[in-house]
């Protein structure tokens, strides 16, 4: 049986209600991401045993690691390459990684720049302190150079 204006009631109701996307118009920082959202990995430094499982299972090769034979070393993350899959959390043998809600996520996503590309996740033993910062600075400079080359190639 064919009728016309079947959706008339719905249309009137919606007209009275106003737009559904009202809340989106507010500031992004007012809306924290939901509780269990998967985000970038963060490592609990006391628990990490530097086994390197997370580096091996990472599908996008965004985790990198450097260590000596005394289990001293550091793990860092190439932020834009991470796809938030949570493999590292699943396969971590000592439950040292958590990927749940990062309170600053929505802010950090929208203030994105080259300096933040590399993030140190954990540093152990002789890699702590100034040495770790220096290593990270080297990586950042290297990455910055690459991005500069790409920009020059594009003619920017």
């Amino acid at each position: 049986m064919k009728k016309v204006l079947v959706m008339g009631g719905e249309a009137l109701k919606n007209h009275a209600k106003g737009p559904v996307t009202k809340h989106v118009l507010k500031q992004i920082s007012d809306h924290p991401p939901p509780e269990d959202i998967r985000t970038i990995p963060r490592i609990i430094e006391d628990r990490c045993i530097m086994c390197g499982t997370c580096v091996k299972v990472c599908p996008s090769h965004c985790l990198e690691m450097e260590k000596d034979d005394k289990e001293n070393g550091m793990i860092w993350l190439l932020k834009p390459q991470c796809m938030w899959c949570g493999h590292c959390q699943t396969y971590c043998p000592v439950d040292a990684i958590h990927i749940d809600r990062d309170p600053n996520l929505s802010v950090s996503l929208f203030s994105f720049n080259v300096r933040q590309d590399y993030e140190m996740l954990v540093a152990k033993g002789s890699y702590k302190g100034d040495v770790a910062d220096k290593k990270l600075q080297e990586l950042i400079d290297e990455g910055g150079k690459k991005i500069k080359e790409i920009d020059e190639f594009r003619g920017a």
Binding site: M1, K2, K3, V4, V6, M7, E10, A11, V20, P34, E35, D36, I37, R38, K56, V57, C58, P59, S60, M83, W84, C85, G86, H87, T90, Y91, I99, D100
Partner: protein, 418 residues
């Protein structure tokens, strides 16, 4: 090959190869406002009626299968769902079943893990179908339905996000089980939302069957009769709308689909309205199954993740699953290392192309958008086969018989394939 079969891959350079009687040719795509997906349609017209339609695909070959050979089985678990944007969970599910069979652990998967996998699959079917009939209404010029259905789709998206941490790509499955549990408080939160969505989908069904403006666009348009369907072999909802009651979940039950009450939806009319109603009824069926799964989860216990070694022993296995668009086939070959030797994906849209082209014969050109949309085209996950001669740059598209004959000859007489 029957007589009704004809090659759909004509070359149209100067119009000399066009079908007899056609006086106009319309080219759609690969980039066109209608199509979100890259495909090239050539529609041959006589007046306002379609004489014949051709399709070219292959504009977006992303090389996922090749990329899989360079990654380990564990890493590929996250690459496989990227084969398709919407039906990501079913690709992952079929892949995971291939790995489990090869590793020989398919008996160790607990019932609870299987139930959570099924919830993920059914939730995906729900949001894929709602998305599809929203876009269909948009193509038919009924944008109110697009907005209403996509607004209600957010309910299931919120549930999926709550359970898995991601909206469209839940990625819950792993070889050996699932990543996350569905605890009781989350299930209790989801139940009223599911019931609300059932009411909304029933309202959508009422609109599609009663509202004259949408029904006139869909009824008796693009009829694919049962006999035509048997020749062109569509799968999934396209086949079920034409009276082919074939569903992978009923025919070859995987996971726990044989232990849950659900009905196979099948319509015999064969027009676009029947295809739409198949999908709406399936949405209701899937929502009912989601409720059942949540009830069963309360009384089922078990380990979520069984141990699977990173090295997979030698062998090969083919697994199939029912994607929202049809039948999804995966074939994997393992060589004893932690990386696959070869992996092949056959996405469902490929099987429906011929049936859809058959649908267009004799229709008005104004009905083309609706008919082209009718099988839920998803070409980026379909583009798999392209034979290119590296030396001459020659491209060859063959039918199955030619391909098989040539391959057998090349193997037997040790000849090059081309």
């Amino acid at each position: 090959m029957t007589e009704q079969y004809r090659s759909r891959f004509r070359t149209l350079t100067d119009g000399s190869d066009s079908p007899p009687g056609a006086d106009h040719h319309i080219f759609i795509g690969p980039q066109h406002p209608w199509a979100e997906e890259p495909a090239h349609f050539i529609i041959h017209l006589k007046g306002e009626r379609v004489v014949e339609a051709d399709i070219r695909i292959g504009f977006n070959l992303r090389g996922i299968e090749k990329a899989m050979e360079n990654r380990t089985w564990r890493q590929n678990t996250m690459l496989v769902p990227r084969a398709c944007g919407i039906c990501s969970a079913v690709h992952q599910n079929v892949y995971v079943r291939v790995v489990e069979k090869l590793a020989g652990v398919e008996d160790q998967i607990s019932e609870r893990a299987r139930l959570i996998r099924m919830f993920s699959l059914e939730a995906e079917r729900v949001h894929s179908h709602i998305l599809w009939y929203g876009i269909l209404a948009h193509d038919a010029g009924f944008d109110t339905m697009l907005h209403i259905s996509w607004r209600d789709r957010e309910i299931i998206m919120d549930i999926v996000e709550d359970f898995s941490g991601n909206r469209v790509n839940p990625a819950l499955m792993l070889p050996g089980g699932v990543k996350r549990d569905i605890p009781k408080d989350k299930a209790d939160k989801a139940r009223p939302m599911l019931n609300k969505l059932i009411k909304q989908v029933e309202y959508h069904k009422k609109v599609f069957t009663e509202e004259a403006s949408i029904r006139n666009r869909l009824e008796n348009v693009g009829v694919l009769t049962k006999d035509d369907a048997k020749i062109t072999t569509p799968n999934g909802p396209t086949g079920r709308g034409s009276g082919l009651p074939f569903d992978m979940r009923k025919s070859f039950p995987y996971e726990l689909y044989d232990k849950i009450d659900w009905n196979l939806v099948c319509y015999n009319e064969g027009d676009i309205l029947a295809t739409t109603l198949v999908r709406i009824d399936e949405t209701l069926e899937s929502l009912q199954m989601c409720n059942q799964i949540l009830d069963q989860l309360e009384s089922t216990q078990g380990e979520l993740l069984a141990r699977v070694k990173p090295r997979v022993p030698e062998g090969s296995y083919m697994a199939r699953g029912e994607a929202p668009r049809g039948e999804d086939i995966h074939y994997g070959i393992a060589n004893g290392t932690d990386k696959p030797e070869r992996y092949k994906i056959r996405a469902p849209s490929l099987g429906n192309i011929d049936a859809t082209l058959k649908r267009m014969d004799g229709e008005y050109v104004a009905d083309m958008p609706v008919i082209l949309r009718s099988y839920d085209p998803c070409f980026s996950c379909t583009n798999r086969v392209m034979l290119i001669n590296e030396v001459t740059g020659e491209k060859i598209i063959m039918n199955q018989d030619e391909f098989a004959r040539k391959a057998i000859k090349a193997k037997r007489y040790n000849r090059p394939f081309f």
